[in-house]
């Protein structure tokens, strides 16, 4: 066993009082049942009066948040698309495809965040509002982490473009200052605004040079005396070399240019060009990458990772991915300055800068209250072929483990279970078993839902589950006296035993009432009649009735006899069949041939012999009378047929 990472969090079960009573629990697929026990209670003093509740404790509680259902559903589509996507795309196009998938995931997170934000604004319930706000901040943290992982792992940006990507990342996520910028820019005279220089600093810190220069030019036109100073700063900012995204310049070229520019800035600072204006002097220091000058603007950066990126921009623009860890660690130390300890988000981001993918996933699993994020991120990284070497000491691998956890959570939800199916499908090792166990536990309240579940099972050749679902539905129908539906379900499951059971019910009903119910069904059995012997008999017996009704007596007679001689009819039913033969025997014209009559007689004797073997026919008058009548009818028929056949042959 690995050691436990930190103390497991304490979960308080509202309503349960562990100090008064012992609690016991049982594991479920995604939840735990907790109940109070009688263990250790002293002699029933509260008379068992107070309740004995069972509490359901859920692990993946985010599943139950309404707004997040959009996230689950939309990302499900992306997930399925990613699994289906062709792996054959090589190199660059495959990478572009994966980056696109990653962006799609992020845009879903953002959309969900916006919905949540709207909900937080529009609700009047303060509790709900704080709940929504918490969710917004969790989602935005998730997106922040995802974006960084996308840059470092999925896209694996190289030195040069890496810095540009990190700048985008910071601009996108550090939006505390946006309101301030908006306020200043929309004011009548921005350069007179008290926060004017703050905004310029924000632009410089985020590397938004054009915007900073634009603002400065306004200030310059207001101060004709120092116009020269402004021009020099403007020029420095304009000339600042930036790494390019394309292959237009090599890293050495870039570094050379940057060195020149850096020296120029240095010169201006040393000869005191900006000495008269402290704001401009500090900007110049920032351009030189002076850590103290940058740190002075701590409030404008708000986070250590902003500080990191600003620092890289002005001191090491061609930073290599592998060097990030040193800068990240020192930036965090400098920024926090021992005043506060890093929070979970800081630890996660640090792990990402250190390229410790497994650490990122592990920390996220501990910190977040849902499996959605880690499951999807891990799957994406696995498709980038970044996680293959890692094996867990349990389950199969990390990707599959996390997907199984997430999908199990979905299955415990009354409505989202359908999404879980596709996730299980893409877990090669244990997915099938999980699906089999979960799918049988879906409550089936309507036939339509049963059909949907059944379709899932049939598509995956899960015969055992198909049988069990059909059996459940057939039993339900039977209990509701819907014999037709019950039979349909057992035919669909090819469940011969159950079909036999239902056929017997039909025959019993017939014997009691003298007519068939559900004729439309029995007449329409078709090939499914062959499913069970009893069902075949039921169908054939009904066919006999139809023939009889249509006055096709000789066909009816042949069929009736065949039912007995071919042993299709159950023995218990022979007496009924023989009784059915009575009217045919009594018809004016002769229907049974001599041979057929002999067969009938043999059937009757077989039946009576069997009966008397088991129990002597005692006192059963009705039965005896029936046998007597049959014997009489058979004898008369035989007499008539001998005469008839003799006459025909004779003539």
């Amino acid at each position: 066993m690995e050691e436990v990472d930190g103390e497991p969090p304490l979960t308080v079960v509202p309503g349960a009082d562990p100090s008064a009573r012992q609690l016991c629990f049982a594991w479920g697929p995604a939840e735990v049942l907790v109940c109070e026990t009688l263990f250790g209670r002293r002699g029933g003093e509260d008379g068992g009066q107070s309740s004995s509740c069972v509490f359901v404790v859920r692990k993946d509680q985010d599943i139950y948040i309404q707004t997040l259902r959009k996230l689950f559903n939309e990302s499900h589509g992306i997930f399925v698309g990613l699994q289906r996507s062709e792996e054959e795309l090589a190199g660059k196009s495959r990478k572009a495809q994966l980056v696109q998938v990653s962006k799609n995931y992020r845009s879903v997170i953002r959309a969900c965040m916006e919905d949540m934000h709207q909900a937080a604004i529009s609700t009047r319930d303060p509790a709900l509002q704080s709940q929504y706000s918490t969710q917004v901040s969790i989602l935005s943290a998730i997106e922040l982490i995802w974006n960084l992982c996308e840059i470092l792992f999925v896209e694996a940006a190289a030195a040069g473009p890496l810095l540009l990507r990190l700048l985008d990342w910071v601009r996108l996520h550090v939006c505390d200052v946006d309101n301030m910028v908006r306020e200043v820019l929309s004011s009548e005279n921005p350069s007179k605004h008290e926060l004017f220089w703050n905004v310029v600093d924000v632009f410089v810190l985020q590397g938004r040079m054009d915007e900073a220069r634009h603002l400065l030019s306004k200030e310059a036109s207001a101060n004709p005396t120092s116009v020269n100073m402004y021009r020099i700063l403007d020029d420095l900012m304009k000339k600042m070399p930036m790494p390019s995204l394309g292959n237009t310049q090599t890293l050495t070229e870039m570094e050379l240019k940057w060195q020149h520019w850096h020296e120029e800035c240095q010169r201006y600072l040393q000869d005191g060009t900006f000495a008269s204006n402290s704001h401009m002097e500090s900007i110049c220091k920032i351009l030189l990458g002076d850590e103290d000058a940058i740190l002075e603007k701590k409030e404008l950066m708000t986070t250590w990772y902003h500080f990191l990126v600003t620092r890289l921009l002005y001191s090491r623009p061609t930073v290599k991915p592998m060097e990030l860890r040193f800068y990240a660690q020192s930036s965090m130390d400098l920024f926090l300055g021992g005043e506060s300890s890093p929070e979970p988000l800081d630890t996660i981001l640090m792990a990402a800068f250190e390229f410790e993918m497994h650490q990122v996933i592990k920390e996220c699993s501990i910190a977040l209250s849902n499996w959605w994020f880690v499951a999807h991120l891990t799957d994406l990284l696995d498709h980038c072929k970044l996680l293959q070497s890692h094996n867990l000491y349990f389950g199969s691998n990390m990707r599959e483990f996390l997907l199984l956890e997430y999908a199990s959570g979905l299955f415990s939800h009354h409505s989202l279970w359908q999404l879980g199916v596709d996730y299980f499908d893409h877990c090669p090792e244990y997915g099938r078993v999980y699906l089999e166990l979960h799918i049988e536990r879906i409550p089936l309240n309507t036939e339509q839902k049963a059909l949907k579940v059944l379709r899932i099972c049939e598509q995956r050749q899960m015969h055992e589950q198909v049988r069990s679902i059909c059996k459940i539905m057939a039993m339900k129908a039977l209990r509701n006296n819907r014999l037709g539906s019950a039979l349909s379900w057992s035919i669909r499951a090819k469940d011969a035993a159950f079909a036999t059971l239902i056929s017997d019910r039909f025959l019993k009903d017939y014997c009691e009432r003298g007519c068939f119910s559900d004729l439309d069904l029995i007449d329409n059995l078709g090939p499914s009649m062959l499913l069970s012997d009893r069902l075949t008999f039921l169908g054939k017996y009904r066919e006999f009735h139809r023939l009889y009704g249509e006055k096709r007596f000789s066909e009816a007679a042949r069929l009736l006899l065949m039912l007995m001689t071919a042993h299709i009819a159950p023995c218990s039913f022979w007496m009924t069949l023989l009784t059915d033969a009575l009217p045919l025997l009594e018809q004016k014209e002769v229907i049974f041939s001599a041979e057929q009559t002999y067969e009938l007689m043999r059937c009757l004797e077989d039946l009576t012999a069997r009966k008397s073997d088991k129990q002597k026919l005692q006192g059963d008058d009705v039965e005896t009378t029936k046998v007597e009548m049959l014997r009489l009818a058979l004898a008369r028929n035989l007499a008539r047929v001998i005469v008839k056949e003799g006459t025909l042959e004779g003539s």
Binding site: A141, T446, K449, R482, D520, L521
Partner: protein, 427 residues
């Protein structure tokens, strides 16, 4: 996680990294090999521009699985496209009936949502899964529940609220072995104001009149298997389909509780899930089955379908003729696809009715001429008859449970908890 979430709130929508939310949609024809297709139609290679309808489809995720979507009917002689539809959900702890607007009423709402996205006007709780739903008139919606209850909801348009107007509790029920009554799912409802017909898992048919407390007519045990759907054939006759592949006609003028005609699929007993009849030629009926097959029936003749068309890979949940343009048919399925069947493309290739008529009016018997014009759905001639089939959802995943077409507009809802509106169907 606490603390260092970046920023107090999200950015305006314009800044989202990849605005890929609306599903991309291409008019890509998809045909499957039609081994057991009796009437093999010509290849449907679509030459239409793929991008035409792309911006016209709006998706909205609604956090509930949608079982039904229905356009509100237009007032007579209205020229504008429909602007209001209702949805029902299923399999939720708390199911709802919702009314949505796609009109330009609140165009580009406060939240910056782009125009055309459906806006929720009002919703109301519904007990049980919504199994079927029909507009009775402009204001009233009849809803069939899995609890067996049939409810009439009224949509108050002045203050945008919904209220239960009338309710028939346990219109469908089982009598189980212990003779206690339990509700049975009501699977289908159809309205022809003021009459409402419902069918259910209990094999029962109910005829209600909207203002009467009790059923006007009930046929107990009308079917020994589950009735899946119902539609009006004529004012006094209805069509039902059941789970053993039968199509039945019932005539309410007759007192006996027997169908006046039974049609059935040949061979297997493949359950039928949906039924619709041609709006002009009432003898043409389309049904969809569990195997995704589309069957076209001519109820004037025979007891088997005129043509069987291989379609979806799983249950076909709904089939609809376009109400005013019945050369077009729409089907949706459990396999997550929605197909547009178009028989109008071959009009130009058909011998022109007017031209031939002019040349030799007496030569063609009336019904021959008539047939060449009307029976695109009934024709069995594979060489003459072309049908263009378009799958409107290319990247399908979960079931499309319901669709509705009216004028140039299509609305459909899925198990992926999304509703989609296409407002330029024939663009």
């Amino acid at each position: 996680m606490t603390g260092p979430g970046p920023g107090p709130g999200p950015r305006p929508p314009g800044r989202a990294p990849a605005p890929l939310r609306a599903p991309t949609l291409s008019l890509r024809a998809r045909r499957r090999s039609a081994a057991n297709q009796r009437a093999r139609r010509g290849a449907g290679g679509s030459g239409r521009a793929a991008g035409a309808a792309m911006e016209e489809v709006c998706a909205k995720f609604v956090s509930q699985k949608i079982s039904k979507t229905r356009w509100r009917p237009l007032p007579a002689a209205a020229l504008q496209p429909p602007d209001l539809f209702a949805t029902g959900s299923w399999d939720n702890e708390d199911n709802r009936i919702s009314v949505w607007s796609v009109g330009d009423l609140g165009n580009a709402g406060l939240n910056g949502e782009y125009q055309g996205e459906p806006q929720l006007l009002c919703d109301i709780r519904h007990n049980g899964d919504v199994m079927d739903m029909q507009f009775l008139d402009q204001e009233r919606i009849v809803v069939a529940s899995s609890t067996g209850t049939v409810t009439v909801f009224r949509h108050h348009q002045n203050n945008q609220t919904l209220s239960a107007n009338h309710r028939w509790e346990k219109a469908h029920y089982h009598v189980d072995q212990d003779t206690s009554c339990g509700g049975a799912a009501c699977t289908g409802v159809i309205c022809n104001k003021p009459e409402i017909v419902t069918v259910g898992e209990d094999g029962r048919i109910n005829l209600f009149r909207v203002d009467q407390k009790d059923a006007v007519r009930t046929i107990d045990n009308a079917d020994s298997s589950t009735l899946h759907a119902v539609t009006f054939l004529r004012t006094t006759e209805i069509l039902t389909v059941n789970s053993i592949g039968q199509l039945k006609i019932w005539d309410f003028r007759q007192q006996k509780n027997e169908p006046s005609q039974i049609f059935s699929l040949t061979g297997g007993r493949v359950p039928l899930h949906c039924v619709d009849r041609h709006p002009n030629q009432q003898y043409i009926v389309a049904t969809g089955g569990q195997d995704g097959m589309l069957s076209i029936w001519d109820i004037r003749q025979g007891t088997v379908p005129v043509s069987l068309l291989n379609a979806h890979e799983a249950e076909m949940w709904e089939v609809h003729f376009h109400p005013s343009n019945p050369d077009h048919l729409f089907t949706c399925s459990e396999d997550g696809s929605l197909w547009h069947w178009d028989t109008s493309t071959d009009v130009s290739e058909k011998p022109s009715f007017l031209h031939q008529g002019g040349r030799s009016t007496t030569y063609f018997p009336h019904n021959t001429v008539n047939q060449s014009v009307v029976s695109a759905w009934l024709s069995n001639d594979p060489t003459k008859d072309r049908m263009e089939i378009t799958n409107l959802i290319p990247n399908q995943t979960l079931s499309v449970n319901s669709l509705d077409v009216l004028g140039p507009c299509l609305v459909y809802g899925t198990d992926a908890e999304a509703i989609y509106v296409n407002r330029q169907l024939f663009a």
